[in-house]
Amino acid sequence: MFNKTVKELSIGLSQGEFSSVELTQHYLDRIKAKDGEINSFITVTDELALEEAKAADQIRAEGKATDWTGIPFAHKDIFCTKGVLTTCGSKMLENFISPYDATVVSNMKTSGAVCLGKTNMDEFAMGSSNETSYFGKVINPWSDKEQLVPGGSSGGSAAAVAARLTPIATATDTGGSIRQPASLCGLTGLKPTYGRVSRYGMIAFASSLDQAGPMARTAEDAAMMLNVMAGHDAKDSTSIVKDVPDYTASLNNSIDGLRIGLPKEFFNEHLSPELQNILQDSIKQLESQGATFKEISLPHSHLSVPAYYVIAPAECSANLSRFDGVRYGHRCEDPKDLMDMYQRSRTEGFGDEVKRRILIGAYALSAGYYDAYYNKAQQVRRLIKNDFVSAFEDIDVILSPTSPSPAFGFDSKGDDPVQMYLEDIFTISTNLAGLPGMSLPAGLINGLPIGMQLIGNYFEESKLLNVAHRFQTATDWHTLAPKNI
């Protein structure tokens, strides 16, 4: 049962092969049995899940079921869930029971899906290996002899889906946090266009970059979940007023004649030969379906990581100021005065990577440095966006690597944070430009999955999902599962 996709489970439920309660119990049992090793969940909401499952079965009995009624899934612990612990992977929110639901959470509730729990993540979504979580690192289920990272920051969601502890999960992506773990865990993850999914109730890291999306096994499942997640929300000023298409409707469209761009800056000599080969095979596959390829140039793409490491920290330095120990969250013991309360609560509540980014951000915004850093980065950001805008004048989709390598060992990046930052070298420009991007399994390197990235024009998630689905119809990389599950 656990190898079924959401689509298959949905059919199974509708045909009465199993009930939602049975299905939910099945996954809860798997979590109980397997997650001790993987640590992909921070909170498992077993009782609530079974209640929801019961309600879903009731709805089905009344003949009011939809695609999602009774389908189990998990939320990344960045989404506020009413009455349920919401930690954002931080000690700061170790005891935070959210008093409200994020819009994504209420959308999923309305769909009738059953939430199994909240998945582990890098603290405040800052990280590419899931090592920064206060609740311990997440182990990539593909690990064999050596323990490997699942990627980050949505590493918990990715590991849980890869280990078949949940059929699908929500995730968020600020610089690659859906796509990179998807690549490292052999999954299909989609970061929608900025503004497509509401950010209300999604704990902010970098407001102008954050975007939520599905972490799935297949493009079809991702399309199904995006149907539920996407849409304008009056509570999020940056959410875009635009009709949401049925993303499943165009999955099978022909890709004959589709023009795909290959950015020469991404296909450079630093790319490993194994990854080169995998991408070439993927290109050939799509070519066989009629897609055409051409080289394009994104001349400012090498500035993505530098621009990102000004903009994201600057925004996060302000976004995380609300964690002050006054209204919620960690407060230090016996503060001797106001300053002491602020400093100790925040110093105790935040981990090292979060603190580093807050400091970088405060520095980049401080008097005398604003123009050289923040303003400059925002200018470069426009150059990066303009590169994409001109590229999309004569192509439909961009294909590139997602991550430079498959899953790596813990601590393998040394203690220079910059080495870790380069993990997102192919994904970050998409966030800066606000474009939709997805990663889907494209092959194995040393037995470990690795993804390829598809980048679309604004609001062209359908096209990405279409290409991905066509690829998955012809290949089986996405069906591979880790051995020991």
């Binding site: 935070f96 000023s237 300053m339 200018q379 930052y421």
Partner: protein
């Protein structure tokens, strides 16, 4: 540009973080590495480029002036570290 111990202390103060004296050299090195990555930005000419604060060229939608919220004090203060008489308590505020 490089971040010295004084800078670290200054920005840590602005951000209300406390940095242990012994951690300053390592942190200073980390931040320097990040800044030298970031300094690649300086090489590109951005004259007349309008800074981009949002990826989309969208316009703010304004909300009608309607009261939609009701008193939820008890619920919201359930997650507060210290409250009394409906107030959030903090160490004495001295102006």
């Amino acid at each position: 540009m490089s971040i010295g111990p004084d800078d670290i202390n200054q920005i840590a103060h602005l951000a209300r973080l406390k940095i242990d004296e012994k951690d300053v050299p390592k942190l200073s090195g980390d931040l320097d590495n990040i800044l030298s990555l970031v300094d690649q930005l300086q090489a590109v000419n951005t004259d007349n480029i309008v800074p981009m604060a949002h990826p989309m060229d969208a316009v703010q939608i304004l909300r009608k002036d309607v009261v939609t919220e009701t008193n939820q004090r008890e619920k919201y203060q359930a997650v507060a570290p210290a409250v009394e008489d409906g107030l959030y308590l903090v160490p004495k505020v001295i102006e």
